[in-house]
Symmetry: C2
Subunit: 126 residues, 2 copies
DNA sequence: GGACTGTCTTGACGTCTGTCGAATCAAACG
DNA sequence: CGTTTGATTCGACAGACGTCAAGACAGTCC
C-alpha cells in the first residue's frame, strides 16, 4: 500500500543506468538499502562468491551446473541451494536446455553494486 | 599453518592497489573468496548498509555514534553491534575522542570490492 | 571523589543460514 | 513406458545472526 514512489524492485536493477549515487556521496535511503542489501548478502558467502565468479567469467557468458558442482567439495543440493540464493538476489539467471541447466550473470546489477561502492578519490578529502 | 603464500589478510585490503581482477574476468581462488566474502556479508544487512553510507558520506570524513544511533529505530547496543561488524570486516575505523566515538570509512577496501564487481562492457560479449 | 552521560560488552532468545540425505521433477535414451 | 542421468525441492539439524535488557567501562563536570 501507499508510497510506491520510493519502492525499488530487483527488476529495476537490471538496467544499465545507475539507480543511485555512491554511498560515499549521499546517504542511501532505507528503501534502497532494503533492496540492495540482499544482493551484497548473497555475495557474502565464500562459496557463492566463487560461484558468481565462475559464472561471470565463463568464456561463453554462461556455464553449466555440471561444471560448477564438481569444483566444490559440497553436495549437489547445497550448490543448488546457493545458486537459488544468487538467482533470488537477481545476480544470475538460469536457463534449462535439454538435460543441462546453464547459469548466466546479470551484469546490470553488478554494475549497480560496483557503482554504489565507488569511492571518488577527490571525495576522500585531504 | 603452512602455505602463507596464498594467505590474504584484511590489512592488505587497505592498499590502493587492487588485489585481484574483477570476478567477471577470472575465477577467484578460494582463499580470496574467504577473505572478501565477509566484507560483502557485512554490507548484506540493510542497517549496516545505511550505516556504511552515513559514515562514508559524512561531510568531515567521520561521524559520531551519537549521530548514527538516533537515525534508526533500534537500541544503542544493536547499533554498536552492527558497527563492530563493520569494523571487523575492515570497512570502517573507530576512534574515541573524549566522550564521543567517531567512525571513519576505509576507502581502500571499498575500492577493492568495487573493482571486484566491475563489469567490462566489452566482456559482456554481444 | 561522586554523579552523570555516552558507548560498548555480556547473556539470552528467536530466527535465519549452510549443510546433507532422501525424495521429487525434467529430459533423454532404450 | 521404464530406466537413467542431471538438477531441484523437502525435511532435518547444528551453528550463526539480529535483537534487546542489563551491566560494565570511559570520560566529563561539579
Amino acid at each position: 500500500m501507499s508510497k510506491q514512489a520510493a519502492v525499488l524492485t530487483l527488476t529495476d536493477l537490471n538496467a544499465d543506468t545507475p539507480c543511485c549515487p555512491p554511498i560515499a556521496q549521499h546517504r542511501i535511503p532505507a528503501e534502497t538499502a532494503a533492496v540492495l542489501a540482499p544482493a551484497f548478502k548473497a555475495l557474502g558467502d565464500p562459496v557463492r562468491l566463487q560461484l558468481m565468479s565462475m559464472i561471470a567469467s565463463a568464456p561463453d557468458g554462461e556455464i553449466c551446473v555440471c561444471d560448477l558442482t564438481p569444483a566444490f567439495e559440497l553436495s549437489g543440493p547445497t550448490i543448488s541451494h546457493h545458486l537459488k540464493t544468487l538467482r533470488e538476489a537477481g545476480l544470475v539467471d538460469s536457463d534449462r536446455r535439454g538435460t543441462w541447466v546453464y547459469y548466466r550473470a546479470r551484469p546490470g546489477i553488478m554494475r549497480q553494486l560496483a557503482a554504489l561502492l565507488t569511492v571518488d578519490v577527490a571525495a576522500t578529502v585531504g
